[in-house]
């Protein structure tokens, strides 16, 4: 073995295998028909509320699926969320406006919305020009969407997907128009600005969890359950190991010292 593998990396291999097993366990459970309960995600609940409010006020709902192309995982996840939003606007009979900056996203979004409107029995309310192509240019797109928001004064703006610097322009326009804004992104460096300017934000991982929840895909939900097991173990380690380290150091108990050495070796690569 030692001629082939670097045995000092045993802990890394062990942890990797354990994490993989947890995810596999979650997915297998889901395939077996188990549906894990998902905690309430405020941003998701706010979407339904926002669409209802838009209907009452007779004003449109804006949806921007980020500014990246369809090869970005976040854009793909955004299409899942768009499907759910489309079902909401179809049920309430409220107007949906979706500007896009990529022709591929335009095509995909039309397909998703047509399915959504058909699924709730309102195929007649679906119109392809709900989704429009604006421009590929980052700021050019933002400027024109800003103009649309200022004119049409939407009651709700959903900014869901991968955003870069233009997030500020879009969120500011929505806030200024008095829209209820729900943002969601895994682009970490834009999160602070979105949190400051929007009413609800799906933060990083939460954005993908929301998509899994809204799409109802059992495998995604199962994988989520497996990941949660790993994270819970990590939380326990974070809280428990410092206690053991302290006990070993202050009280000088041998067993605590041995446990400390083992766990720290496990974590030390």
């Amino acid at each position: 073995m030692s001629n082939w593998f670097d045995l000092s990396t045993w802990n890394l291999a062990l942890v990797l295998a354990a994490m993989g097993a947890a995810v596999w366990w979650g997915v297998r459970g889901a395939r077996g028909g188990f549906r894990p309960a998902i905690r309430r995600i405020a941003g998701v609940e706010a979407m339904e509320e926002a669409v209802g409010r838009a209907t009452e006020l007779g004003r449109p709902v804006f949806y921007v699926a980020g500014t990246q192309d369809l090869d970005d995982v976040q854009t793909v996840a955004s299409m899942g969320i768009l499907g759910a939003v489309g079902r909401m606007t179809a049920r309430h009979g409220c107007n949906l406006v979706m500007p896009t900056d990529r022709s591929l996203v335009l095509a995909a979004a039309r397909e998703v919305l047509r399915e959504s409107y058909t699924a709730v029995g309102r195929p007649d309310s679906y119109a392809p020009d709900m989704v429009s192509y604006i421009s590929d240019d980052q700021f050019g797109f933002a400027a024109r969407v800003d103009g649309m928001i200022a004119r049409e004064k939407p009651a709700a703006c959903f900014l869901q997907g991968a955003f870069f610097a233009e997030s500020l322009l879009l969120a500011e326009a929505g806030a200024h128009a008095g829209a209820l804004q729900v943002a969601g992104t895994a682009t970490n460096h834009q999160l602070p600005f979105l949190v400051a300017a929007c009413d609800h934000v799906l933060i990083g991982e939460e954005f993908f969890a929301a998509e899994a929840y809204l799409s109802g895909d059992p495998e995604k939900l199962g994988s989520l359950r497996g990941q949660d097991v790993v994270k819970n173990v990590a939380v326990l380690l974070l809280l428990g190991v410092p206690l053991v380290v302290t006990l070993a150091g202050v009280a000088g108990w041998t067993w605590a010292g041995n446990l400390r050495d083992f766990v720290l070796r496990l974590l030390q690569t």
């Binding site: 990396t9 994490m19 596999w24 700021f139 500011e172 602070p192 990941q227």
Partner: protein, 236 residues
Amino acid sequence: MKRLIPRVITSVVGIVLIVSAFVVRPGDDGGAAWPVQAFLYVDRNFSVWFGILAVFAFILGGASLLKNHVSKVLHRRRDWPYSVVTLVSFVGVLVIGLFKLGGPPGLQGEVTDPGAWLLVVFDGLYDPLGSALYALLAFFVASAAYRAFRLRSLESSILLVSAFVVLLGRTPLGTWLSDFLPRSLGFLRIDTFSVWIMSVPNVAGQRAILIGIAVGVVALTLRILAGRGDAEGGRS
């Protein structure tokens, strides 16, 4: 077949590289068993090959740009004259760079050597345009600070207060404002407090995000290597 082959490629490549991370790294004398050598060869050369593919991705990007803008011009779509600007500048820079115009004679030397025309393109066009586009962001932040960043909920309030303290702590104003505090309350000084925010709650939050993403990476990687997710990120 159209779907199977790419999935097999992804899985095999991914699994081989994961294993190779655990293989022994012998010193310069070599002398490892042949399977180890094979893993090390793959580990090293796939990195090099990836770099070559990255350049093809640049080429593909340039070619799609060409295709898009040529079709805009041919069909006289909205704003087509601007597409001419893009096309001319793209082809121009390509000629200047690939033929190494200026600088050392012929194709010799480095494309960024003093005297090369590409340096002029870089300093006269690329740098000012890119820098100005990024500098716009300062204006957007200023206006959003005034018009959109609101104490609308507990979360956004905490965020804004934390941002406020950190920003203030980085100016002499912060030092001046907390000068009245007695020595014993030194930890309440705005500049000290802002360093504390950076090194305690900020690090706690950032570490949680990193740990969370690492777990997500494991799940995503396994899904794709098991052939469940689509390698292209799209839906199957």
